[in-house]
Symmetry: C2
């Protein structure tokens, strides 16, 4: 528990430094590292993909995803995707006897869905000149506070198992607690953003909109978490890694972002949270 | 052989009608049908994915891909992708005991790479007001003429096996013949476009650029074909279907488009073939 909290504090400090004191592009590079590490964990730690070429291509492609939305054009991302698919097809043809199509497909699927989801944090930063940083904080607070709320509420009040076949420790009480803590923390963060920044710089954050969005994102973050648990279970590994003492691997910490952050990214395109 | 030629003539007539006499959006809908059928073949005929929900979501998503590039915004495609991933994750959680992650990943991978590749025909149509139709014809001529050239040259002159472990009938002589026929047909089509249309309406097609592009696309179309053969071989099916007498399924006819047409689409964005 001690190392878990310590790692959390160091992580939070890193997030603050990258978001508040460094140029926006640093976030893209930070996410590139996280995507590459996550893919390493997902493909190597699970022993699911063993072909070195497929691994290298997948990790490289994953590291490029945070840069997909930088320009106006869709073409660079499309070119990268085509290049990646071409390389995978080439390896599949060369090693058709030892490499199973479903393993290549697994590498492709994982290298697309998780890195693009994580990269939505970088896309969020670029989505608004003024409120980008606030959106990124929300994108981290919603899933992580849901995780934390579920963990503590579940530990103290958990009675009813949520899905014992996937994650035996998760409880319905924990889920409810996670959603409540996630909504509460998001609204608190929005309120702090209002009084500490917007009041002096202009703009009004819509608290009810933040609450509603968080209410949608919190269950989605649990779904991301459960999906990663299924992968671990079916690949018979306990944790994705040990890079973050007390938390496990990068994937163990970021898996809950899978569906929540992309939803946040899409919603703020159409309904900005700050007016 | 007779049914093969007859089906080919009917198919070609259909292509001409859709491209020359019907509004552009009809091509999008035609590709939607082809993508849906192709996915049905890839997932159902191979017996690789049996979960009805995953199948329905994958076929529905595939049918939407031809419309991805219609507007200026990236958001609708991104929303559809997130919706599709969310549905897959949900099914994976509900049926975690019977549904393997690698089968879901296979469905996701196939529903993305083949339909998006086929949809590039529709994207090509929209890529240029004047030359879109010519680009679509090129996108069909390059891979299909390569297939046909390889088939006939291979039948008469084939000596050296190309990759007996994947496709025992393919020969190196056939490959060379296919590339030559593909380049020749593309240049011929471009020349016809020049004298039948551009000479009276203005514009010059770059024949050497068409030849060079075709020289790149022809081997890529063989790679697409081989990749589909590996899928068939690993899933132990002979053909993807019987919808096109003499040709097999939609996938058997369209598999060679996998890498060639997306490359064509990307290249004409940066280097239009007609000035």
């Amino acid at each position: 528990m001690k190392s878990r909290i310590l790692t959390g504090i160091v992580g939070a400090a890193l997030v603050f430094v990258v978001l508040l004191f460094l140029p926006p592009i640093v976030l893209n590079f930070a996410m590139a590292v996280i995507c590459a590490l996550a893919m390493y964990e997902l493909l190597v730690t699970t022993h699911h993909v063993t072909h070195r070429g497929v691994l290298a291509a997948s990790i490289l492609f994953s590291a490029c995803t945070p840069f997909f939305m930088l320009g106006e054009s869709r073409m660079p991302a499309f070119m990268l995707l085509l290049g990646y698919v071409t390389v995978l097809v080439l390896f599949q043809i060369i090693c058709h006897q030892s490499l199973k199509v479903e393993h290549t497909a697994f590498a492709f699927c994982m290298s697309l869905i998780f890195p693009v989801a994580f990269s939505c944090l970088a896309y969020l930063r670029g989505a608004s000149e003024r409120d980008g940083i606030f959106y990124v904080f929300l994108g981290l607070i919603m899933p992580w506070m849901c995780d934390m709320g579920a963990y503590f509420v579940g530990t103290f009040f958990g009675r009813t198992k949520l899905c014992p076949g996937i994650s035996p420790k998760k409880t319905v009480e924990g889920l409810v607690g996670g959603v409540v803590v996630s909504v509460g923390s998001s609204v608190l963060a929005a309120w702090l953003y209002q009084i500490l920044w917007l009041n002096s710089h202009g703009g009004t954050v819509s608290l009810w909109q933040v609450a509603l969005l968080s209410l949608l994102c919190a269950p989605l973050s649990v779904m991301g978490d459960l999906f990663a648990s299924i992968i671990k279970r079916q690949c018979q590994v306990k944790d994705f890694g040990h890079i973050m003492p007390g938390h496990g691997g990068i994937m163990d910490r970021f898996d809950s972002l899978l569906l929540a952050v992309p939803l946040l990214y899409i919603v703020v395109q159409y309904f900005p949270l700050v007016y």
